[in-house]
């Protein structure tokens, strides 16, 4: 018994030691975990709350997440209500003043960029709408750059001793990222103006960046699964509007997208959506490399 108590006390002491060798980062989504790694390097220890195979709208406030958030020095989330179904509960239960919204330890990517698709009216009859705008902002690499710059400043604020480290790594990342972006933009030139049908409105930022033209969604309304009548109408629209690709994310059910693809003869393309969504999307570079390759391959097959 005594030994048990001692072991427990030792474990508590070890895990609660004030002087952190590294900054504990709780990343709500894999893309921010990857970005925190790019900028923080080995000065940060990153925990990812969700995987690329999980719908970030629908995560449960599991006990393991509460424990991880309690230990965090910095929470990096998308914000814009993407995590509204689980993050508020985690924040209240984690009893960690450092990462409460408004504290320096809470960083929302949505605060760093301009959001698209801000709804003109708020009504749940319109489905799962986000009042602040479309939160899937990480699929425009220019946003990744802006968030990276903000995150580097925040890391430097929280961990002043390593401020120079974060600034230097951010500079390196920004240069490399800009070069990569130019490469992607040149490579993706054939995608400009290509008409696409998407499953959920996940792709607004990618479309905006690459000049893809979204003509319809498979979901009749955000977060609402399609019915037979809606799909029949959609199948008429696909050829009429010259749709070249049907896009869906790795975390989404493929069935509806595959069904539309099969009936219409337009290829359905699964995109990684975030880091870890496909085998090749192992980091942020891989995410965009693989997304563009898959889009180009999809367009190629229709020719």
């Amino acid at each position: 018994m005594n030994r048990l108590v001692f072991t427990f006390a030792a474990a508590v002491l070890l895990t609660s030691g004030g002087a952190h060798a590294t900054l504990n980062v709780f990343a709500c989504e894999p893309e921010w975990a990857a970005l925190a790694g790019e900028i923080g390097g080995d000065k940060v220890s990153v925990f990812t709350a969700t995987t690329a195979r999980q719908d970030p709208h629908q995560v449960q406030a599991r006990p393991a997440l509460i424990a991880r958030l309690r230990a965090a020095d910095l929470a990096v989330c998308t914000g814009a209500e993407l995590e509204i179904g689980w993050m508020p509960v985690l924040l209240r239960q984690a009893a960690n003043p450092k990462v409460q919204p408004g504290a320096p330890g809470y960083f929302a990517a949505a605060d760093q960029v301009l959001l698209l698709d801000v709804p003109a009216r708020l009504d749940r009859a319109d489905g799962d709408v986000h009042a602040a705008g479309n939160p899937h902002l990480h699929l425009d690499p220019r946003n990744i750059a802006a968030v990276g710059a903000g995150l580097a400043r925040r890391l430097a604020d929280l961990d002043g001793a390593n401020a120079a480290w974060y600034a230097a790594r951010q500079k390196t990342f920004a240069e490399k990222w800009t070069a990569a972006m130019q490469g992607w933009e040149a490579k993706a030139a054939p995608l400009r103006g290509v008409a696409v049908v998407v499953y959920h409105k996940d792709w607004v930022y990618l479309e905006n960046w690459l000049g893809l033209k979204q003509v319809a969604t498979i979901e009749p309304k955000p977060g609402v699964a399609p019915g037979a009548a809606y799909l029949a109408q959609l199948l008429q629209d696909v050829p009429a509007r010259g749709v070249k690709l049907i896009l869906y994310a790795a975390y989404q059910e493929a069935r509806a997208a595959q069904f539309v693809a099969e009936k219409s003869g337009v290829p359905a393309v699964m995109l990684p959506f975030t880091v870890g969504g496909t085998e090749r999307a192992t980091d942020l570079y891989g995410l965009f490399d693989d997304s563009i390759n898959r889009l180009l391959a999809g367009v190629g097959t229709t020719r």
Partner: protein, 433 residues
């Protein structure tokens, strides 16, 4: 394109700076303004960038104009901007049962005022209105009013700290106790239309009290929390007025992920209650004495790749044991009661859930002076029930449920059929695990 946007914003920036607001408000405003400026600068850079197509530049600028146009009202009518989040839960039901609910009994138990059998015919369930918001940088506040028939009751009214160090949280006011697993859940979050038997009988549905709670979340790599509560204890299973705290409770919960698909939580809780004059059975019975209740709870959840929306399974069970002793209607009374429930919920398709539950309670009043025909007479029977429920969700915010139960709480078997709708309007707080 961006210049008009800047020109639009500028007057409001200066207006905002000159507002006679408190110092910290000004600081916060400045921060916001700085953010806005940064955003505008970034936009400017983007617009000047050669890579930007005319089309996307237009959409960006349109966004900025929208923002610029939208920002001033938010700043000038800040009184309503700070309104708490309001959530409404509406619940209605239709019940059919083979026996009349009046005089419903569970052999051997004195039942609290909420522990009766469900009504028959059409009726409203409990309608709820919740207001909640952060009070300041330290506190969060919540008020839940429950409307049942024509009566309004304060279901929860509490503050909770958000910024205490060392993993501590203090909650004060009226709140559902943190004991067990289902005790903290509001009725609209249950997987069945009614509460399980042991909670219904031993806790009068759920333990809800006026008091103070302290929780400590241990800095362990898995979830481990300790909690203690002191409360007034004037409602069942307590009763009467107590000089200090009539009810004391303590609990430990632990939990973790097993893998990407599954997770668990389990706990032990203990509640001590003191009843000065607990009145039950429409005033016919009074009890004076003490009670000790222990709860073991466990829940396991499974969802392929951690996506509960499309498919998930939840297994949940709790075991309750209660010792109660004192004077029942002035006669010596000593009782040992126990009960448990086991339930499984399977979401087999998006929007569809099927749930099964078995529950039972049993009292041993051999050491009590039992008057024949009183509620304490057990007939050596165990009250049992089996329940099946099918739920259809129109969305996260609306659901319809059909539930069938076979209940043996009285000498004869009873069939119950319940149809229920539950809808939520407005802000709907995220659900705990």
């Amino acid at each position: 394109m961006y210049r008009p946007a800047l020109a639009l914003v500028a007057p409001f920036l200066s207006l905002a700076l000159n507002m006679p607001a408190a110092a910290q408000d000004n600081a916060a405003l400045r921060q916001e303004i700085d953010l806005l400026k940064q955003q505008l600068q970034r936009m400017e850079q983007r617009l000047n960038g050669a890579e930007q197509t005319a089309a996307s530049a237009q959409s960006q600028a349109a966004q900025a104009q929208q923002r610029a146009a939208a920002a001033p009202p938010a700043a000038s009518s800040s009184a309503s901007a700070f309104n708490p989040a309001i959530g409404v839960v509406l619940d209605g039901r239709f019940g059919a049962a083979s026996r009349t609910p009046a005089g419903a009994r569970v052999p051997g138990f004195a039942l609290g005022d909420e522990a009766g059998a469900p009504r028959r015919g059409f009726g409203l369930g409990e309608s709820e209105v919740t207001f909640s918001a952060n009070v300041d940088q330290w506190l969060y506040g919540n008020l839940t009013l429950a409307f049942e028939d024509d009566a309004v009751a304060v279901e929860e009214a509490y503050f909770q700290t958000t910024a205490l160090p060392y993993g501590l949280t203090v909650k004060g006011g009226r709140f559902f106790s943190g004991i067990g697993y289902i005790n903290e859940q509001h009725a609209h979050a249950w997987d069945f239309s009614d509460q399980n038997l042991p909670y219904r009988v031993l806790l009068n549905q759920q333990l809800n009290n006026d008091g103070l709670q302290l929780r400590y979340l241990a800095p362990t790599p898995f979830f481990l929390e300790f909690g203690g509560e002191a409360a007034r204890g004037n409602t069942f299973p307590g009763g009467g007025e107590s000089k200090t705290a009539g009810t004391l409770a303590a609990f430990v919960h632990a939990g973790d992920d097993i893998n990407e698909n599954s997770s668990w939580r389990a706990g032990v809780s203990h509640v001590r209650t003191k009843a000065e004059d607990r009145v039950t059975n429409d005033g016919a019975d009074t009890f004076r004495g003490r009670g000790n209740l222990t709860i073991l709870d466990a829940v396991y959840k499974w969802a392929p790749t951690g996506n509960p929306a499309s498919q998930h399974l939840k297994l949940q069970g709790e075991y309750l044991f209660r010792d109660e002793g004192g004077q029942f209607n002035g006669l010596d009374y000593q009782s040992a009661a126990q009960g448990f429930y086991l339930q499984g919920v399977y979401q087999f398709a998006p929007k569809w859930q099927f749930a099964l539950r078995y529950d039972q309670v049993q009292a041993n009043n051999d050491d009590a002076a039992v008057v024949a025909g009183s509620v304490l007479e057990t007939f050596n029977e165990t009250a049992r029930r089996g329940t099946a429920a099918l739920t259809f969700f129109t969305s996260e915010f609306g659901r319809f449920r059909a539930q069938y139960a076979l209940e043996q709480t009285r000498p004869e078997t009873e069939h119950q059929l319940l149809f229920q709708y539950t809808i939520t309007l407005g802000a709907h707080g995220a659900h705990a695990y």
